[in-house]
């Protein structure tokens, strides 16, 4: 009898753990593509964006899986934004380090700078840009040019569909700041894309 009770308890525990895992998987599957696009627009690199999304997912699963599921979205986007910022900072430090490393000069003795700057740009050149007909390309290009906080506010509010309070939690700022950044972002984008976009 006692053994039966313990067995039932174990089975219930296993089932509830399985349910929690399924719920988390559904959540991650529902946000992963948009999270990738947000990271890609901010970082401009597919591999780095994928690393950032994976890292954010792992962090959420490792540390916050036991939190109520309604908290996952703002938490996940908070982690994602922190990882994006970390990546941007690392790039900045790397470019500083390469700037004063000896031996990075060309034949004329000029500084070569950060090798990342020498890599082929993923941003389209002027000729290619003229050929862009797609609305997505035009919008992504315009969003990339927004200041960082405006870009975050626009993507989290408009694309990810977070409300003002959730966006404030994800960005780590007040709701008033979110509204200001979002308003300015929309204004800038409408001006950049023109009436007929």
């Amino acid at each position: 009898m006692l053994r039966c009770g313990a067995f039932d308890r174990q089975r219930t525990q296993r089932e509830s753990a399985l349910d929690a895992a399924r719920e988390l998987e559904r959540f991650l599957a529902s946000v992963e593509k948009r999270a990738f696009k947000i990271a890609q627009i901010a970082i401009r690199d597919v591999d780095d964006a994928l690393d950032i999304v994976q890292d954010s997912m792992m962090q959420l699963a490792r540390r916050y899986a036991d939190r109520p599921s309604e908290e996952w979205r703002p938490l996940f986007h908070r982690i994602l934004q922190n990882r994006i910022r970390d990546c941007q900072r690392r790039r900045m430090v790397r470019s500083k380090v390469f700037a004063w490393l000896p031996g990075r000069q060309n034949a004329d003795g000029e500084e070569l700078g950060d090798p990342m700057d020498l890599a082929p740009s993923q941003d389209p050149g002027p000729g290619e840009r003229m050929m862009m007909a797609g609305a997505l390309d035009a919008l992504e290009t315009a969003v990339r040019r927004l200041p960082e906080r405006q870009q975050q506010a626009f993507l989290l509010r408009n694309f990810e569909g977070l409300d003002v309070a959730e966006t404030a939690a994800a960005m780590g700022c007040s709701e008033g700041s979110v509204k200001t950044h979002y308003f300015r972002a929309v204004q800038t984008l409408r001006e950049a894309l023109g009436e007929h976009w």
């Binding site: 992963e32 899986a65 430090v93 694309f159």
Partner: protein
């Protein structure tokens, strides 16, 4: 704001949302496959046992130690007792790297979010709306 500009604004928001969503849905097979792998890796974390409480208790201590180290290095830098080599820029980079310690960022994730969660009375709406979204 006039009705016309209001509706234009809403139209812009709707269209940009649709365009970005279409972009997310048309990701290449390679990216989609790597996102699925990332999700499975994240779910594997659920099976790993949580680190013992004493290790978690050391994380804030580690953060404090990093801050103390930065303060000592900055102080020595100001008083000129520590030689960082011939260039000044090296000193800044070292401090920046130390200050970027991941543990500190992990702490930030927690502390700021839960401070916000506790302090904002309107935050109950997050739970309701997140559920709806």
């Amino acid at each position: 704001m006039s009705e016309t500009s209001d509706s234009k604004l809403q139209e812009f928001e709707r269209r940009s949302r649709e365009v970005l969503a279409a972009g997310a849905e048309s990701l290449g097979a390679d990216v989609r496959s790597r996102l699925t792998q990332a999700r499975f890796k994240a779910l594997e974390q659920l099976e790993k046992p949580a680190s013992p409480a004493w290790i978690r208790a050391l994380v804030p201590a580690g953060g404090l130690a990093a801050v103390a180290l930065v303060a000592v290095m900055a102080w020595h830098g100001v008083t000129g007792r520590m030689d960082f080599g011939p260039t000044d820029s090296g000193r800044g980079d070292v401090l920046e790297v130390v200050a970027m310690a991941d543990d500190y960022e992990l702490l930030q994730d927690d502390v700021e979010f839960y401070q916000w969660l506790d302090s904002d009375p309107g935050v109950d709406a997050v739970a309701d709306l997140a559920g709806a979204g």
